[in-house]
Protein backbone atom coordinates (compact mmCIF):
# COMPACT_ATOMS: atom_id res chain seq x y z
CA UNK A 1 0.00 0.00 0.00
CA UNK A 2 1.41 3.33 -1.06
CA UNK A 3 0.31 6.69 0.35
CA UNK A 4 -0.72 9.55 -1.94
CA UNK A 5 2.22 11.76 -2.86
CA UNK A 6 3.07 14.54 -0.39
CA UNK A 7 5.73 17.12 0.40
CA UNK A 8 8.03 16.47 3.33
CA UNK A 9 9.73 18.90 5.67
CA UNK A 10 11.89 18.00 8.63
CA UNK A 11 11.99 20.73 11.31
CA UNK A 12 14.27 21.32 14.28
CA UNK A 13 12.17 23.62 16.49
CA UNK A 14 8.53 23.95 17.50
CA UNK A 15 8.35 27.46 15.99
CA UNK A 16 9.59 26.07 12.68
CA UNK A 17 6.95 23.34 12.88
CA UNK A 18 4.15 25.85 13.50
CA UNK A 19 5.28 27.97 10.56
CA UNK A 20 5.48 24.86 8.36
CA UNK A 21 1.87 23.97 9.24
CA UNK A 22 0.51 27.07 7.52
CA UNK A 23 -0.97 25.00 4.71
CA UNK A 24 -4.41 23.67 5.77
CA UNK A 25 -3.74 20.17 4.57
CA UNK A 26 -0.44 19.70 6.41
CA UNK A 27 -0.04 17.04 9.05
CA UNK A 28 2.47 16.55 11.81
CA UNK A 29 4.55 13.38 11.59
CA UNK A 30 5.94 12.21 14.95
CA UNK A 31 6.38 8.43 15.32
CA UNK A 32 4.01 7.88 12.40
CA UNK A 33 2.43 4.79 13.89
CA UNK A 34 -1.13 6.10 13.63
CA UNK A 35 -0.71 8.47 10.70
CA UNK A 36 1.22 6.28 8.26
CA UNK A 37 -1.18 3.31 8.43
CA UNK A 38 -4.07 5.74 7.77
CA UNK A 39 -2.15 7.27 4.85
CA UNK A 40 -1.35 3.86 3.39
CA UNK A 41 -5.08 3.07 3.40
CA UNK A 42 -5.59 6.55 1.88
CA UNK A 43 -7.98 7.38 4.70
CA UNK A 44 -5.70 10.34 5.27
CA UNK A 45 -4.21 12.27 2.33
CA UNK A 46 -2.19 15.21 3.61
CA UNK A 47 -0.41 17.30 1.01
CA UNK A 48 2.53 17.89 3.34
CA UNK A 49 4.10 16.15 6.32
CA UNK A 50 6.02 18.14 8.91
CA UNK A 51 8.41 15.74 10.63
CA UNK A 52 8.95 16.76 14.27
CA UNK A 53 11.00 13.74 15.35
CA UNK A 54 14.22 15.77 15.43
CA UNK A 55 12.90 18.49 17.79
CA UNK A 56 15.03 18.01 20.90
CA UNK A 57 12.74 20.06 23.18
CA UNK A 58 9.90 17.55 22.69
CA UNK A 59 11.91 14.68 24.17
CA UNK A 60 12.45 13.79 27.75
CA UNK A 61 10.58 13.22 30.98
CA UNK A 62 11.26 15.33 34.05
CA UNK A 63 9.85 16.70 37.28
CA UNK A 64 9.45 20.47 37.35
CA UNK A 65 7.58 22.80 39.74
CA UNK A 66 5.42 20.08 41.24
CA UNK A 67 4.59 18.53 37.90
CA UNK A 68 5.74 15.53 35.96
CA UNK A 69 6.41 16.76 32.44
CA UNK A 70 6.41 14.26 29.61
CA UNK A 71 7.64 15.61 26.28
CA UNK A 72 5.11 15.00 23.51
CA UNK A 73 7.80 13.20 21.53
CA UNK A 74 8.48 10.60 24.24
CA UNK A 75 7.82 7.14 22.86
CA UNK A 76 5.70 4.56 24.64
CA UNK A 77 8.92 2.59 25.28
CA UNK A 78 10.61 5.70 26.78
CA UNK A 79 7.73 6.13 29.22
CA UNK A 80 7.40 2.40 30.05
CA UNK A 81 11.07 2.29 31.07
CA UNK A 82 11.38 5.65 32.81
CA UNK A 83 12.38 5.60 36.51
CA UNK A 84 10.47 8.74 37.48
CA UNK A 85 7.29 7.46 35.84
CA UNK A 86 7.67 4.02 37.41
CA UNK A 87 7.98 5.50 40.89
CA UNK A 88 5.47 8.37 40.73
CA UNK A 89 2.95 7.42 38.03
CA UNK A 90 3.24 3.62 37.86
CA UNK A 91 0.05 3.19 35.82
CA UNK A 92 1.58 5.28 33.03
CA UNK A 93 4.46 2.78 32.83
CA UNK A 94 2.08 -0.19 32.98
CA UNK A 95 -0.23 1.30 30.37
CA UNK A 96 2.66 2.22 28.05
CA UNK A 97 4.04 -1.31 28.22
CA UNK A 98 0.65 -2.67 27.09
CA UNK A 99 0.45 -0.59 23.91
CA UNK A 100 0.70 -2.54 20.65
CA UNK A 101 3.97 -4.47 20.50
CA UNK A 102 7.67 -3.78 20.95
CA UNK A 103 8.06 -2.30 17.47
CA UNK A 104 5.10 0.04 17.91
CA UNK A 105 6.29 1.13 21.37
CA UNK A 106 9.73 1.92 19.97
CA UNK A 107 8.31 4.57 17.63
CA UNK A 108 4.80 5.61 18.64
CA UNK A 109 4.70 8.77 20.80
CA UNK A 110 2.37 9.93 23.56
CA UNK A 111 1.73 13.24 21.79
CA UNK A 112 0.90 11.50 18.53
CA UNK A 113 -1.48 9.11 20.24
CA UNK A 114 -3.29 11.93 22.06
CA UNK A 115 -3.61 14.06 18.93
CA UNK A 116 -4.94 11.08 16.97
CA UNK A 117 -7.51 10.39 19.74
CA UNK A 118 -8.37 6.86 18.73
CA UNK A 119 -11.39 5.83 20.83
CA UNK A 120 -9.56 2.62 21.82
CA UNK A 121 -6.12 4.11 22.57
CA UNK A 122 -4.70 3.74 26.08
CA UNK A 123 -3.24 7.20 26.74
CA UNK A 124 -6.56 9.10 26.79
CA UNK A 125 -7.84 7.13 29.81
CA UNK A 126 -4.50 7.49 31.59
CA UNK A 127 -4.16 11.26 31.13
CA UNK A 128 -7.80 11.75 32.16
CA UNK A 129 -7.38 9.74 35.36
CA UNK A 130 -4.12 11.55 36.21
CA UNK A 131 -5.70 15.06 36.00
CA UNK A 132 -3.17 15.86 33.28
CA UNK A 133 -3.00 19.02 31.22
CA UNK A 134 -2.06 18.87 27.56
CA UNK A 135 0.32 21.73 26.79
CA UNK A 136 0.02 22.93 23.21
CA UNK A 137 1.77 25.63 21.21
CA UNK A 138 0.43 27.58 18.26
CA UNK A 139 1.12 30.85 16.49
CA UNK A 140 -0.35 32.68 19.51
CA UNK A 141 1.96 30.98 21.99
CA UNK A 142 1.39 28.22 24.49
CA UNK A 143 -1.79 27.19 26.29
CA UNK A 144 -2.86 24.31 28.52
CA UNK A 145 -5.89 22.19 27.83
CA UNK A 146 -7.24 20.08 30.68
CA UNK A 147 -7.44 16.43 29.67
CA UNK A 148 -11.15 16.58 30.48
CA UNK A 149 -11.60 19.31 27.83
CA UNK A 150 -9.29 17.73 25.27
CA UNK A 151 -11.22 14.76 23.85
CA UNK A 152 -14.30 15.95 22.01
CA UNK A 153 -15.44 12.92 20.03
CA UNK A 154 -14.38 10.11 17.72
CA UNK A 155 -10.81 10.97 16.60
CA UNK A 156 -11.54 14.57 17.64
CA UNK A 157 -9.81 16.91 20.05
CA UNK A 158 -9.91 20.58 20.98
CA UNK A 159 -6.53 21.16 19.26
CA UNK A 160 -6.73 24.08 16.82
CA UNK A 161 -5.23 24.08 13.34
CA UNK A 162 -1.52 24.96 13.53
CA UNK A 163 -1.34 23.89 17.17
CA UNK A 164 1.04 21.21 18.25
CA UNK A 165 1.18 19.25 21.48
CA UNK A 166 4.46 20.00 23.23
CA UNK A 167 4.08 18.26 26.62
CA UNK A 168 1.81 16.41 28.97
CA UNK A 169 1.87 17.85 32.50
CA UNK A 170 0.68 15.87 35.48
CA UNK A 171 0.57 17.20 39.06
CA UNK A 172 2.94 15.04 41.11
CA UNK A 173 0.62 12.76 43.08
CA UNK A 174 0.80 12.95 46.90
CA UNK A 175 2.75 10.19 48.67
CA UNK A 176 0.54 7.13 49.05
CA UNK A 177 -1.46 7.70 45.88
CA UNK A 178 -2.35 4.41 44.21
CA UNK A 179 -2.93 3.84 40.52
CA UNK A 180 -4.06 1.03 38.27
CA UNK A 181 -4.70 0.50 34.57
CA UNK A 182 -6.67 -2.59 33.61
CA UNK A 183 -7.21 -3.44 29.99
CA UNK A 184 -9.00 -6.03 27.92
CA UNK A 185 -7.03 -6.03 24.67
CA UNK A 186 -8.06 -6.76 21.14
CA UNK A 187 -5.83 -9.82 20.65
CA UNK A 188 -4.35 -8.76 17.30
CA UNK A 189 -4.02 -4.97 17.54
CA UNK A 190 -3.72 -4.75 21.35
CA UNK A 191 -5.98 -1.72 21.28
CA UNK A 192 -8.28 -1.56 24.29
CA UNK A 193 -11.70 -3.07 23.86
CA UNK A 194 -12.07 -1.71 27.35
CA UNK A 195 -9.42 0.11 29.38
CA UNK A 196 -10.01 1.46 32.87
CA UNK A 197 -7.58 3.82 34.59
CA UNK A 198 -7.97 4.59 38.29
CA UNK A 199 -6.05 7.00 40.48
CA UNK A 200 -6.84 7.04 44.20
CA UNK A 201 -5.37 9.75 46.36
CA UNK A 202 -4.55 9.33 50.09
CA UNK A 203 -7.61 11.43 51.02
CA UNK A 204 -9.84 8.93 49.21
CA UNK A 205 -10.53 11.10 46.15
CA UNK A 206 -10.79 8.68 43.26
CA UNK A 207 -10.47 9.41 39.54
CA UNK A 208 -11.91 6.86 37.12
CA UNK A 209 -11.52 7.02 33.34
CA UNK A 210 -12.49 4.65 30.56
CA UNK A 211 -11.23 4.17 27.03
CA UNK A 212 -12.51 1.85 24.31
CA UNK A 213 -16.03 2.10 25.66
CA UNK A 214 -17.42 5.18 23.93
CA UNK A 215 -16.69 7.63 21.08
CA UNK A 216 -13.94 9.13 23.20
CA UNK A 217 -12.30 8.39 26.52
CA UNK A 218 -14.14 9.93 29.47
CA UNK A 219 -14.12 10.39 33.24
CA UNK A 220 -16.91 8.46 34.89
CA UNK A 221 -18.24 10.88 37.49
CA UNK A 222 -21.08 8.57 38.54
CA UNK A 223 -18.70 5.77 39.48
CA UNK A 224 -16.26 8.26 41.06
CA UNK A 225 -19.01 9.61 43.34
CA UNK A 226 -19.68 6.13 44.72
CA UNK A 227 -16.10 5.46 45.90
CA UNK A 228 -14.56 8.91 46.38
CA UNK A 229 -13.76 9.54 50.02
CA UNK A 230 -15.16 6.16 51.04
CA UNK A 231 -13.52 2.90 52.01
CA UNK A 232 -13.05 0.56 49.09
CA UNK A 233 -14.86 -2.65 49.98
CA UNK A 234 -16.58 -5.38 48.04
CA UNK A 235 -19.84 -3.51 48.52
CA UNK A 236 -18.55 -0.14 47.34
CA UNK A 237 -16.79 -1.76 44.38
CA UNK A 238 -20.02 -3.46 43.36
CA UNK A 239 -21.92 -0.20 43.74
CA UNK A 240 -19.34 1.69 41.65
CA UNK A 241 -19.53 -0.95 38.92
CA UNK A 242 -23.32 -0.65 38.94
CA UNK A 243 -23.11 3.12 38.55
CA UNK A 244 -20.40 3.01 35.86
CA UNK A 245 -20.81 3.69 32.11
CA UNK A 246 -24.33 5.06 32.38
CA UNK A 247 -25.50 7.81 30.07
CA UNK A 248 -22.73 7.32 27.49
CA UNK A 249 -23.04 6.04 23.95
CA UNK A 250 -21.45 2.58 24.08
CA UNK A 251 -19.52 1.36 21.04
CA UNK A 252 -20.37 -1.89 19.33
CA UNK A 253 -18.37 -3.75 16.71
CA UNK A 254 -17.83 -7.27 15.41
CA UNK A 255 -15.56 -7.99 18.34
CA UNK A 256 -17.66 -6.77 21.26
CA UNK A 257 -21.36 -5.90 21.24
CA UNK A 258 -22.69 -2.95 23.19
CA UNK A 259 -23.93 -5.25 25.95
CA UNK A 260 -20.65 -7.18 26.20
CA UNK A 261 -18.56 -4.00 26.19
CA UNK A 262 -20.69 -2.53 28.97
CA UNK A 263 -20.23 -5.70 30.98
CA UNK A 264 -16.46 -5.65 30.40
CA UNK A 265 -16.25 -2.01 31.50
CA UNK A 266 -17.80 -2.92 34.85
CA UNK A 267 -15.55 -5.96 35.26
CA UNK A 268 -12.41 -3.96 34.48
CA UNK A 269 -13.45 -1.15 36.82
CA UNK A 270 -13.77 -3.75 39.58
CA UNK A 271 -10.29 -5.08 38.83
CA UNK A 272 -8.83 -1.56 38.88
CA UNK A 273 -10.55 -0.65 42.15
CA UNK A 274 -9.40 -3.88 43.78
CA UNK A 275 -5.85 -3.02 42.72
CA UNK A 276 -5.94 0.38 44.49
CA UNK A 277 -7.85 -0.80 47.57
Amino acid sequence: MIPVSFDYQKVKTVDEAIAALSNDNSKILAGGHSLLPAMKLRLSQPSKLVDIAAIASLKGIKEEDGEIVIGAGATHADIAGDKLIKSKLPFFAEGASMIGDVQVRNHGTIGGSLAHADPAADWPALVLAADAAIEVQGSNGKRRIKATDFFTGLFSTSLQDNEIIVAIRIPVPAQGTKTSYQKFSQPASRFAIVGCAVMRFPDGKTNIAFTGVSDNAFRDSNAEAVVSGKVISNDSIAAAAKAAVQSVNILSDHYASEEYRKHLAKVYLKKALQAVA
Binding site: M1, P3, D7, Y8, P37, Q103, V104
Partner: protein, 168 residues
Amino acid sequence: MSTKITVTVNGAKHIDKVEPRLLLVYYLRDVLKLTGTHVGCDTSSCGACTILVDGKATKSCTMLAVQADKCKITTIEGMATNGELHPLQEGFNQCHGLQCGFCTPGMIMTAADLLKNNKKPSEEQIRAALEGNFCRCTGYHNIVKAVQYAADKMSAPRARKTKKEAAL
Protein backbone atom coordinates in the same frame (compact mmCIF):
# COMPACT_ATOMS: atom_id res chain seq x y z
CA MET B 1 9.69 16.23 -5.08
CA SER B 2 12.47 13.96 -3.91
CA THR B 3 14.54 14.19 -0.76
CA LYS B 4 18.16 13.24 -0.24
CA ILE B 5 18.83 10.70 2.49
CA THR B 6 22.01 9.28 3.95
CA VAL B 7 21.63 5.94 5.71
CA THR B 8 24.06 3.34 6.96
CA VAL B 9 22.74 -0.13 6.22
CA ASN B 10 24.65 -3.12 7.61
CA GLY B 11 27.71 -0.91 7.94
CA ALA B 12 27.64 0.48 4.38
CA LYS B 13 26.76 4.13 3.77
CA HIS B 14 24.14 4.87 1.10
CA ILE B 15 23.13 8.27 -0.28
CA ASP B 16 19.96 8.29 -2.35
CA LYS B 17 17.25 10.62 -3.55
CA VAL B 18 13.86 9.20 -2.66
CA GLU B 19 10.24 10.21 -2.95
CA PRO B 20 8.93 11.12 0.55
CA ARG B 21 6.15 8.53 0.29
CA LEU B 22 8.60 5.66 -0.28
CA LEU B 23 8.31 3.25 2.65
CA LEU B 24 11.55 2.15 4.24
CA VAL B 25 10.90 -1.52 3.46
CA TYR B 26 10.61 -0.73 -0.27
CA TYR B 27 13.75 1.38 -0.12
CA LEU B 28 15.62 -1.61 1.31
CA ARG B 29 14.10 -4.13 -1.09
CA ASP B 30 13.73 -2.22 -4.35
CA VAL B 31 16.51 0.36 -4.16
CA LEU B 32 19.20 -1.47 -2.16
CA LYS B 33 18.05 -4.93 -3.34
CA LEU B 34 18.14 -6.27 0.22
CA THR B 35 15.21 -8.64 -0.19
CA GLY B 36 15.77 -10.54 3.06
CA THR B 37 13.38 -8.10 4.75
CA HIS B 38 9.89 -9.33 3.85
CA VAL B 39 6.61 -7.53 3.29
CA GLY B 40 3.96 -9.61 5.00
CA CYS B 41 0.73 -7.83 5.89
CA ASP B 42 1.81 -4.30 4.94
CA THR B 43 -0.46 -3.05 7.77
CA SER B 44 1.92 -2.87 10.77
CA SER B 45 0.57 -6.11 12.19
CA CYS B 46 2.70 -9.11 11.25
CA GLY B 47 6.27 -7.99 11.92
CA ALA B 48 7.79 -9.77 8.89
CA CYS B 49 9.38 -6.47 7.83
CA THR B 50 11.11 -5.88 11.19
CA ILE B 51 14.61 -4.40 11.03
CA LEU B 52 16.76 -2.52 13.55
CA VAL B 53 16.79 1.27 13.25
CA ASP B 54 19.45 2.69 15.57
CA GLY B 55 19.29 -0.65 17.38
CA LYS B 56 15.53 -0.63 17.91
CA ALA B 57 13.16 -3.20 16.40
CA THR B 58 11.11 -1.35 13.81
CA LYS B 59 8.39 -2.32 11.36
CA SER B 60 9.88 -1.01 8.15
CA CYS B 61 6.47 -0.95 6.45
CA THR B 62 5.45 1.74 8.95
CA MET B 63 8.34 4.10 8.47
CA LEU B 64 9.19 6.33 5.53
CA ALA B 65 12.65 6.09 4.04
CA VAL B 66 13.01 9.86 4.63
CA GLN B 67 12.44 9.32 8.37
CA ALA B 68 15.48 7.01 8.42
CA ASP B 69 17.80 9.79 7.22
CA LYS B 70 21.07 9.69 9.24
CA CYS B 71 20.03 6.41 10.91
CA LYS B 72 21.94 3.17 11.29
CA ILE B 73 19.98 0.21 9.98
CA THR B 74 20.56 -3.50 10.42
CA THR B 75 18.69 -6.02 8.29
CA ILE B 76 18.85 -9.81 8.31
CA GLU B 77 21.64 -9.59 5.72
CA GLY B 78 23.78 -7.81 8.32
CA MET B 79 23.50 -10.49 11.01
CA ALA B 80 26.10 -13.02 9.88
CA THR B 81 29.76 -11.99 10.22
CA ASN B 82 32.48 -13.31 7.91
CA GLY B 83 30.23 -16.12 6.71
CA GLU B 84 29.48 -17.25 10.25
CA LEU B 85 25.82 -17.31 11.19
CA HIS B 86 24.63 -15.11 14.06
CA PRO B 87 23.64 -17.24 17.09
CA LEU B 88 20.00 -16.39 16.40
CA GLN B 89 20.25 -17.64 12.81
CA GLU B 90 22.01 -20.74 14.07
CA GLY B 91 19.30 -21.20 16.72
CA PHE B 92 16.47 -21.09 14.18
CA ASN B 93 18.38 -23.64 12.12
CA GLN B 94 19.28 -25.97 15.01
CA CYS B 95 15.90 -25.81 16.79
CA HIS B 96 13.79 -26.02 13.64
CA GLY B 97 12.37 -22.58 14.42
CA LEU B 98 10.83 -22.21 10.99
CA GLN B 99 8.81 -24.05 8.42
CA CYS B 100 8.07 -21.80 5.43
CA GLY B 101 10.56 -19.22 6.73
CA PHE B 102 8.68 -16.14 5.62
CA CYS B 103 8.45 -14.65 9.11
CA THR B 104 11.98 -15.65 10.13
CA PRO B 105 13.93 -12.48 9.25
CA GLY B 106 11.48 -10.37 11.27
CA MET B 107 11.53 -12.84 14.16
CA ILE B 108 15.32 -12.74 14.27
CA MET B 109 15.51 -8.95 14.18
CA THR B 110 12.95 -8.54 16.99
CA ALA B 111 14.74 -11.22 19.02
CA ALA B 112 18.04 -9.37 18.45
CA ASP B 113 16.52 -6.25 20.04
CA LEU B 114 15.33 -8.37 22.99
CA LEU B 115 18.71 -10.05 23.57
CA LYS B 116 20.52 -6.72 23.46
CA ASN B 117 18.59 -5.58 26.55
CA ASN B 118 17.96 -8.91 28.23
CA LYS B 119 20.73 -11.51 28.08
CA LYS B 120 18.71 -14.25 29.78
CA PRO B 121 15.06 -13.80 28.88
CA SER B 122 12.48 -16.17 30.33
CA GLU B 123 10.10 -18.01 28.02
CA GLU B 124 7.40 -15.56 29.03
CA GLN B 125 9.61 -12.58 28.19
CA ILE B 126 10.51 -14.07 24.80
CA ARG B 127 6.85 -14.61 23.97
CA ALA B 128 6.00 -11.06 25.07
CA ALA B 129 8.83 -9.60 23.00
CA LEU B 130 7.68 -11.48 19.90
CA GLU B 131 4.07 -10.35 20.31
CA GLY B 132 4.33 -8.21 17.16
CA ASN B 133 5.68 -11.01 14.97
CA PHE B 134 3.30 -13.56 13.52
CA CYS B 135 4.18 -17.07 12.41
CA ARG B 136 1.48 -19.11 10.73
CA CYS B 137 3.41 -22.41 10.60
CA THR B 138 5.29 -23.32 13.73
CA GLY B 139 3.01 -22.63 16.67
CA TYR B 140 5.91 -20.59 18.11
CA HIS B 141 7.36 -23.30 20.40
CA ASN B 142 10.52 -23.85 18.38
CA ILE B 143 10.88 -20.12 17.79
CA VAL B 144 11.07 -19.65 21.56
CA LYS B 145 13.62 -22.48 21.75
CA ALA B 146 15.67 -20.86 18.98
CA VAL B 147 15.83 -17.58 20.92
CA GLN B 148 16.80 -19.45 24.10
CA TYR B 149 19.52 -21.28 22.13
CA ALA B 150 20.91 -17.95 20.95
CA ALA B 151 20.73 -16.42 24.45
CA ASP B 152 22.67 -19.37 25.87
CA LYS B 153 25.26 -19.27 23.12
CA MET B 154 25.73 -15.51 23.33
CA SER B 155 26.22 -15.58 27.10
CA ALA B 156 28.69 -18.50 26.98
CA PRO B 157 32.32 -17.40 27.42
CA ARG B 158 33.05 -18.44 23.84
CA ALA B 159 34.96 -15.34 22.79
CA ARG B 160 37.48 -15.70 25.61
CA LYS B 161 38.05 -19.35 24.80
CA THR B 162 38.67 -18.52 21.16
CA LYS B 163 41.23 -15.91 22.15
CA LYS B 164 43.00 -18.44 24.35
CA GLU B 165 42.89 -20.98 21.55
CA ALA B 166 44.35 -18.40 19.20
CA ALA B 167 47.19 -17.77 21.66
CA LEU B 168 48.11 -21.42 21.70
